[in-house]
Amino acid sequence: MSQTVPSGPMRYEADERGYFGETWGGRFMPEALVAALDELTVAWQDAMADADFVAQFERVLREYAGTPSRLYHAERLSETVGARVLLKREDLNHTGAHKIRNVLGQALLTKRMGKTRVIAETGAGQHGVASATAAAWFDLDCTVYMGSVDTRRQALNVARMQLLGAKVVPVESGSATLKDAINEALRDWVASVDHTAYLFGTAAGPHPFPSMVRDFCRGIGDEARAQCLDQYGVLPDAVAACVGGGSNAIGLFTAFLEDKSVEIHGFEPGGDGVETGRHAATIHAGEAGVLHGARTYVLQDEDGQTIESHSISAGLDYPGVGPQHSWLSAAGRATYTPVTDAQAMEAMALLSRTEGIIPAIESAHAVAGALDLAKRLGAEKGPDATIIVNLSGRGDKDMGTAIEWFGLGDAEEGPEADLDQTETVSQQ
């Protein structure tokens, strides 16, 4: 049989203009920002080729963020699905998610470029908190844009950012959520670009952000691949991650792109169900378009207006997706499948009760999707079938949602009642 997909070490990389597979990505941006994006591209490429920078980044990650994160064999969960499920414990990083990797890389680059101020957008507040953390540690001024709908939903994270010394600006325009926070951060950047760096929160946006953010997050997969070989002597049969913008996913996937035996699975926020229209499953249900500077799959109407997305997980609630994921899907190297709110919440409860780990609702999407995957692989290959799931963040921030969903918080209620409710909801 002939190989229809071309192979080679660079085929999953963007070209020098930022296009993946000649179509996806690019730089659809105002001319006013092009010089800054060019400057950033050169600085990032120089930095990644500079052994001192790379060593400094690794040291900061190790000593401050707590990497490498553990690759943990979830034994009870493995028994229930009949395959070996390994959790990449990014939830144990400082600030509770993989996002610290990206902001430390970008903040280090900001210092190297001699800029004194950083801006960031945030949805649920996790990237905002990570940015505020890095800004505190590196002594940078920090302004975080956050949709006013989200500042109300995530008041605790607003307070965390403020305590860390960041200024939080509520954004009222448009739908007043993550995409509008990005718009407002871009508006700030156009006016402040001479002294300000934009710490973009995911592997999306104009070139070089998709590639740069991936490079700062790829330690997830590099570590997991080495840990899996070291601890089990094999490569995994599959790797799985949730995909909103897709930084944790591309951070995991990158190490495995050339391992043809490894299946790559992204799980998208299916919201109330893709058929309801209330979801954020951009690759599964969107169409190619341009949003925030990149050509990628976008949830959009007939006229190319962005459609508001929906997910129970604010961190996945974005109507676009990183362009490399669009390319990996189009090229057939990775599979993207929606997971509904109800499936994710069921997985959140399951992981809490089988492993004593409360995952972020984002990560619970990956767990939910991986359960079906593990069952299939276990049936095909036996109990040694191995799947790595990126546990990208911890669930403390999501307790408000969990309280509402499961009806928790009343001491009179027993745990069985809550699980029953989960099952009831998931069967609807």
């Binding site: 006013a32 156009v190 670009v193």
Partner: protein, 268 residues
């Protein structure tokens, strides 16, 4: 179809800068925006830019955002924008569409170029594509004899200004402050040098967008640029009279008259 170059030639013949006015289509209504733009033509605009309302306008300040969001909430469609183009272009004044890229890609680049030309439009101003990422649009515009107006900024390198000037047709849009659209004091030490840098690349006219909102500011910009672009100040006239169409149109007429006088009294 009238190329925007006609407006600059006319202004040059009168030894003055051209006045270019902007409003988004669909505010306060589709018909209302066409009527408002016709008033601006009548009172002295030499060329018109019609904004295509978009859900994620990263280069626009609060004034234009507010009007565009209103238009979107009221259900304005890309096809409505083309109807407004047709109504305004019928006056004989060069009429461009200013649009973010995704609605054009969604409509179909070639199809949009064909329909814009059919409606009598002069071309497109594209704030979020640059010529190096706009090859599909450049090909479609050339096939349909449309103007391609790309932007330059104070941060643009000389090489990029040369590339942009060579790929543009109609004029080069100098966004002369680092920031989003919106009325401001309109004095900038960045604008004059930016215009000079574009001019060093040939004869293409250079129009400046810098937040002009009155005749004195227009006169100042007209002293060094080939065109003065006014957007937010026109939109403000309509936003300030949400329930009184006649008053809004009267304000537009008065502002246009003031600006048209401004470009005529500039020291050149």
């Amino acid at each position: 179809m009238t190329s925007t170059s006609a407006a600059f030639e006319k202004a040059r013949a009168e030894d003055r800068a051209a006045l270019i006015g902007y409003l988004p289509a669909g505010y306060p209504t589709v018909e209302g925006s066409a009527k408002a733009l016709q008033v601006m033509v009548d009172a002295g605009c030499d060329a018109i830019e019609i904004g295509l309302p978009y859900s994620d306008p990263v280069m626009d300040g609060p004034t234009i955002q507010a009007a565009a969001q209103h238009a979107l909430d009221a259900g304005v469609r890309t096809s409505d924008v083309l109807r407004v183009v047709e109504a305004v272009a019928a006056t004989g004044v060069p009429t461009l569409v200013m649009t973010y890229w995704n609605p054009i890609e969604r409509y179909g680049v070639e199809r949009f170029a064909a329909d814009l030309a059919q409606a009598g439009g002069a071309g497109l101003i594209t704030p979020d594509i640059t010529p190096d990422h706009g090859t599909e649009w450049i090909a479609a515009a050339d096939a349909h004899d449309l103007d391609k107006v790309f932007l330059v900024a104070p941060s643009s390198t000389d090489d990029r200004i040369a590339m942009t000037a060579s790929e543009s047709r109609g004029f080069v849009y100098a966004a002369a402050v680092m920031g989003v659209t919106g009325a401001r004091d309109a004095s900038s030490d960045l604008a004059g040098p930016l215009v000079d840098r574009v001019r060093s690349n040939g004869d293409i006219p250079v129009a400046v967008g810098i937040g002009v909102s009155n005749g004195d500011q227009a006169a100042d910009v007209a002293s060094y640029a080939d065109g003065v672009i006014v957007g937010s100040a026109f939109v403000r006239c309509l936003l300030d009279h949400p329930d009184d169409e006649a008053a809004g149109l009267e304000a537009l007429r008065a502002l246009t008259t003031d600006l048209a006088e401004g470009v005529r009294r500039a020291a050149r």
